[in-house]
Amino acid sequence: MNSPVIEDLALAELSEQPADAAAELRLPRDLDLIRHVQVALSARLGSTEISIEKLYSLRAGDVLALREQVSELVTLFVENRAVARGLLVAVDDCLGIEITEILPT
């Protein structure tokens, strides 16, 4: 049995070539490719502003009023990007959000 011939590997030098529109490489915009990617979901229920002085004087039991009305819609975020709005609801013993509006991307 002949022993294999081992030589140095010679790689061709590559250079940028102008893209041919007809041959442009594009992945199909198919959700199936990324359907298992996990994204973080969160909801911003309300907000307020507080002075530094007051922040450091807060005590357990203090009440802070937020800007939002009780019936106001809350915003749903995907990876810190607002995607939907909805109503805060109680689902059994837990909090939930009933989607009322999908925000334009």
Binding site: L31, I34, R35, H36, V37, Q38, V39, A40, L41, S42, A43, R44, L45, G46, S47, T48, E49, I50, S51, I52, E53, L55, L58, R59, A60, G61, D62, V63, L64, A65, L66, R67, E68, Q69, V70, E72, V74, L76, V78, V83, A84, G86, V89, A90, V91, D93, C94, L95, G96, I97, E98, I99, T100, E101, I102
Partner: protein
């Protein structure tokens, strides 16, 4: 002259507090947490054993020196470093220093044997015989006394004054208010935007396609659990319960949110592949 001594002594104790208190508090807090679940007697024994180990070290004459130190004939530098940090490294090895060290050591071991705040409830054997009120006195007061000697040098009247623990305990009972620096004063009126977040589970990109009006995204956050109140740079600043006041959303503050503490967040971190339950109404 007595008033002059007293004034100078308090000033020196304030100086010592700045240098000793942090190191001592951190060291003793760590120790108490490590030994929180041990019965009080065991914790006393471990505290003493740790002291002995520290004193003996690798020195061939360690046993002899340890004996000297245990009987407070010598104030070992290693022990001082371990307990009081670098602030006390210059304590002289003289009888008066040893006497003060004995007081500081007794107060320290008593403080270490206390149950740390926030730990599990004590059982029948743990802390059943809690230290007396004298032993529960914060160790820092004695440490100030100890460090006061270090900073006072060998001025005899001064040392006698420092040894009068009762007088200084009274002086230290009302610590001076913390003065704001000019920089802190300048920012005190600046406002910080706070937002109230509801943590939700991660979802897959495919699940996002089902997001439409009428869908209910259910969290695993119970109604009676506090939510997180924070700002952009520190989203976990405070924990607060949701409610309302005069028609507006409001929160009642619960505690500082220093770590992942709610069951919902723990469950979320443990099962990243879980998805929120959704339903059509």
């Amino acid at each position: 002259m007595r008033y002059l001594y007293r004034y100078a002594g308090v000033r020196r104790l304030e100086y010592a507090r700045r240098h000793v208190d942090d190191a001592l508090a951190g060291w003793s807090a760590d120790w108490r947490v490590d030994h929180a679940n041990e019965p009080v007697q065991a914790r006393w024994q471990v505290a003493d054993a740790a002291t002995v180990d520290c004193l003996a070290g690798d020195d061939p004459a360690g046993l002899e020196r340890m004996d000297d130190t245990l009987y407070l004939r010598t104030a070992a530098a290693a022990w001082r470093r371990a307990v009081f940090g670098s602030a006390a490294s210059g304590l002289p090895d003289d009888p008066l220093a040893c006497a003060l060290l004995a007081q500081a050591r007794a107060a320290l071991v008593s403080a270490l044997a206390r149950k740390p705040a926030g730990s599990a409830p004590a059982d029948a054997n743990t802390n059943a015989n809690a230290p007396t009120s004298a032993a529960q006195r914060p160790v820092a007061g004695r440490a100030w006394l100890y460090a006061g000697l270090f900073h006072a040098g060998r001025d005899e009247p001064f040392l006698q004054l420092l040894l009068d623990a009762r007088r200084f305990d009274a002086a230290l009972a009302t610590p001076p208010p913390v003065a704001l620096t000019p920089r802190a004063l300048a920012v005190r009126n600046a406002t910080l935007p706070l937002t109230l977040q509801l943590p939700l589970d991660s979802v897959s990109a495919a699940d996002l396609q089902h997001l439409r009006p009428g869908v209910i995204v259910q969290s695993r956050h119970r109604l009676d659990e506090p939510l997180l109140l924070g700002c952009d740079t520190q989203p976990r600043l405070l924990r607060a319960f949701l409610g309302q006041r005069k028609g507006r959303l409001a929160v009642r503050l619960d505690s500082v949110a220093a770590a992942r503490t709610t069951a919902t967040e723990s469950a979320s971190a443990a099962s990243p592949s879980s998805t929120p339950e959704t339903a059509r109404r």
